[in-house]
């Protein structure tokens, strides 16, 4: 595995005149996921704006390691960009739990609007203490609930039910307070576990629901919109600081253009996924009354507002915008 030509040692340090600098982007989702498509779009924009001086190389599906590994490689500059799940990053920075405050957004559009808010920008700035430059937030669908028997309209429907969730402080807290038994289970066990009743339901976005075909084994989808599910797009601070101010600006602009396009794509996918699920014959409850979850909602929001002023401000602004 040793003999290789120098030209493929792309990216990291040298970028002589006329040479294309290739940035490494890493994330944990599959290639057809909307985050990956947004990363590709970023590549296009970057090539255009830099007149071909910059290019990207995407490492999807955790090929460069888990998110913990990715953050470390971003710190050292071994990877240039990361599309990190907000779920993981919220275990490292409290303020990011803001996106998981229950029932803050009635739809994906409402969540997307908060991307430009002042508290969201503060979250990105806080990341610099971890050696990261927070560039933007990008979205997948909102979180909904798929259950084996019946809809999830109120905490009563979820009491004592075993629900598969993604490990994040705020999500864990929400599901415990609802009275369900949240289980963090690896994705490849979910299908059979749902089928055989090891779990009663899952907290999921529509995109994953369609690709993983869970609707084959559980028929009741409630569009609860209890949370949204962003990715935090970060850049290695070490790499960012090594660039000229003009190039930093090129990167910021290219990313903004890509994400502006990406959020629209995510919204479009939320609709087409829903249609696909209906076509597959799944039972869908399209709207619930979030006030039935009000007690739980307040408890979680209070708990996390105490942890970070940014979360408090974020909740106020989101509530005000409604």
């Amino acid at each position: 595995a040793c003999g290789r030509d120098e030209s493929s040692t792309s990216g990291n340090n040298a970028s002589a005149e006329g040479e294309t600098r290739v940035f490494k982007i890493a994330h944990v989702v599959q290639e057809n996921h909307v985050w990956n498509v947004t990363a590709q779009k970023f590549g296009e924009e970057l090539r255009k704006l830099s007149d071909g001086r910059f290019d990207i190389e995407i490492h999807p599906a955790s090929t460069l390691g888990t998110e913990a590994d990715m953050v470390q490689q971003l710190e050292t500059g071994a990877i240039d960009f990361g599309f990190m799940t907000n779920a993981y990053m919220s275990t490292r920075q409290d303020s990011l739990n803001a996106w998981f405050m229950p029932y803050l957004f009635g739809s994906l559009e409402e969540a997307v609007k908060m991307r430009e808010s002042e508290p969201a920008k503060q979250m990105l700035e806080e990341l610099s203490s971890q050696g990261l430059v927070g560039l933007d937030f990008m979205f997948a669908g909102n979180r909904h609930v798929l259950m084996k028997d019946g809809f999830a309209e109120s905490p009563k429907d979820l009491k004592g039910k075993k629900i598969r969730i993604i490990g994040s402080p705020a999500m864990q807290s929400y599901w415990e307070k609802v009275g369900a038994g949240p289980t963090a289970m690896p994705l490849n066990e979910v299908y059979t576990s749902l089928q055989t009743g090891v779990i009663d339901g899952i907290d999921i976005d529509l995109d994953a629901l369609v690709t993983e075909k869970y609707y084959e084994v559980a028929k009741y989808l409630t569009l609860t919109n209890q949370m949204t599910f962003p990715t935090v797009i970060v850049m290695s601070k070490a790499v960012y600081d090594s660039l000229t101010p003009e190039d930093q600006e090129i990167i910021r602009t290219a990313m903004k253009n890509a994400v502006d396009w990406g959020v629209q794509e995510a919204i479009r996918r939320e609709e087409s996924n829903l249609q696909a699920l209906k076509d597959a014959g799944i039972e869908v409850l399209e709207e619930i009354d979030p006030s039935k979850f009000q007690t739980v909602t307040n408890e979680v929001r209070n708990e996390f507002s105490k942890k970070s002023d940014i979360i408090k401000a974020f909740i106020e602004e989101a509530e005000g915008g409604k």
Binding site: A1, T66, Q73, A78, P186, N188, T192
Partner: protein, 419 residues
């Protein structure tokens, strides 16, 4: 280069992977990556699926100490021992039952070489044929579920481990039948001995005796096939039942033996998992340099036919299996092949079975075959002699492999039928 030199110097394979990674990072001058080495070494292990490995190892140890292995062999002997070449069939049948508890070929070969070979020799079979049959039948270990290889494939490819286990059942049975056919041929040619036919009473007593022992494989197979438990859960429950049966039914397991069993389990587990940890940093290095993608592009440029692709994969893996350890090869290859599967329209479960059977055969092919070394070191049959009498079994394995490769329903039918 460094890789080959280190291997030849006899550095343990796990560390060869680690050292190569570090040397390679130094060679590319990308020194910032070194900082991530310990982190990457750690996080590859933080995986729920891997928990099945120590638990199945423990089940195997408990079963051996608890007298379960012995009962299974005795049971098979009472029922099919009276055919010509009877003990050879018993060997295969007992191996099939054991395979439903044990997940690795080397563990199974080690265990059965100690029990079956002396037994066959006593009845007049040659030592080399006895060892050969035992080594070949040991290949069933990682094919019939549970299987360390399937677990590792599932973990690194994202395929469901439960589906992999289901998919292994029919190939395991086919392989077992293949070996029996070979035994029948050789048996008629060399007029093998028969065992005395057991009386109905003896058969019944043996059947009663084996019932608690059979509970262990039954729990695993039924649990997995019905989808009632995950692989990890069935491993946990199998080791628990093996403990109960050994302690309370057969009373051959002593509480004082438990510490030794647990420490053994840690050693045998660590041999595999440290290899996985090191292979993880090696694979990460390959991914960082986009080597999997380059190999994938090269493969696609050769042919776009699925038949040709699978043939090339088989040839490549059989050759690789001659030289390389199965688990290490698996962890390195899975990320390389996965992106190719959708292009050739190959189901990941089907592919998993192909790759795992291939690498299992490698355990018995010279020059590097851990199964050969273990069998030979236990029974003292020279490796050269072993290889000479093994070839009919290896051919049978390759024939089964080709059937599985080109008739996907043999592997895919069961996992889909139980969905």
């Amino acid at each position: 280069m460094a890789f080959a030199v280190l291997l030849l110097l006899g550095v343990p394979i796990a560390y060869v992977l680690g050292i190569t990674t570090v040397v390679y990072i130094f060679a590319t001058g990308n020194l910032t990556l070194l900082v991530t080495v310990p982190q990457r070494l750690y996080s590859g292990m933080e995986n729920y699926g891997l928990l099945a490995i120590p638990l199945f190892m423990l089940a195997g140890e408990l079963m051996n100490f608890g007298g379960i292995t012995k009962r299974l062999v005795d049971f098979a002997k009472k029922f099919i021992g009276h055919f010509r070449g009877g003990l050879a069939y018993v060997n295969v049948a007992a191996n099939m039952m054991l395979a439903a508890i044990i997940g690795s070929a080397t563990a199974q070969i080690a265990m059965m070489s100690r029990t079956m070979v002396p037994e066959m020799e006593k009845s007049g079979y040659s030592k080399s044929f006895s060892t050969t049959t035992t080594a070949a039948a040991g290949l069933l270990g990682p094919i019939i579920p549970p299987s360390m290889l399937f677990i590792i494939y599932g973990v690194s490819s994202g395929a469901s481990i439960a589906d992999m286990f289901k998919a292994g059942v029919i190939p395991g049975i086919l392989l077992g039948l293949g070996f029996m056919i070979i035994i029948a041929f050789i048996g008629f040619k060399e007029s093998f001995p028969k065992e005395k036919r057991a009386s109905a009473g003896e058969m019944f007593r043996s059947f009663l005796g084996v019932l608690p022992a059979l509970a262990v494989p039954l729990i695993i197979i039924v649990g997995i096939l019905s989808g009632a438990f995950t692989a990890t859960e069935s491993a946990a429950i199998a080791s628990f039942v093996a403990l109960l049966v050994g302690l309370f039914f057969y009373r051959e397991l002593k509480l004082s033996q438990i510490p030794k069993i647990l420490i053994n389990t840690v050693s045998t587990t660590a041999v595999i998992t440290i290899l996985i940890a090191m292979a993880n940093i090696f694979g990460w290095m390959l991914a960082f340099e986009r080597i999997p993608q380059q190999i994938a592009q090269w493969m696609v440029s050769i042919s776009d036919s699925t038949i040709v692709f699978l043939l090339l994969v088989n040839i490549f893996l059989l050759i690789l299996g001659m030289f390389m350890d199965g688990i290490a090869a698996l962890i390195i290859l899975v990320p390389i092949f996965m992106p190719l599967l959708p292009l050739y329209n190959v189901d990941p479960i089907h592919f998993g079975i192909i790759i795992c059977i291939n690498l299992t055969i490698g355990i018995l092919t010279p020059p590097v075959g851990s199964g050969l070394f273990i069998a030979s070191s236990i029974t003292r049959v020279p490796i050269g002699e072993l290889v000479r009498s093994l070839w009919p079994f290896l051919i049978a394995s390759v024939v089964v492999l080709l059937m599985l490769t080109y008739i996907p329903s043999l592997t895919l039918w069961l996992p889909y039928a139980t969905k």
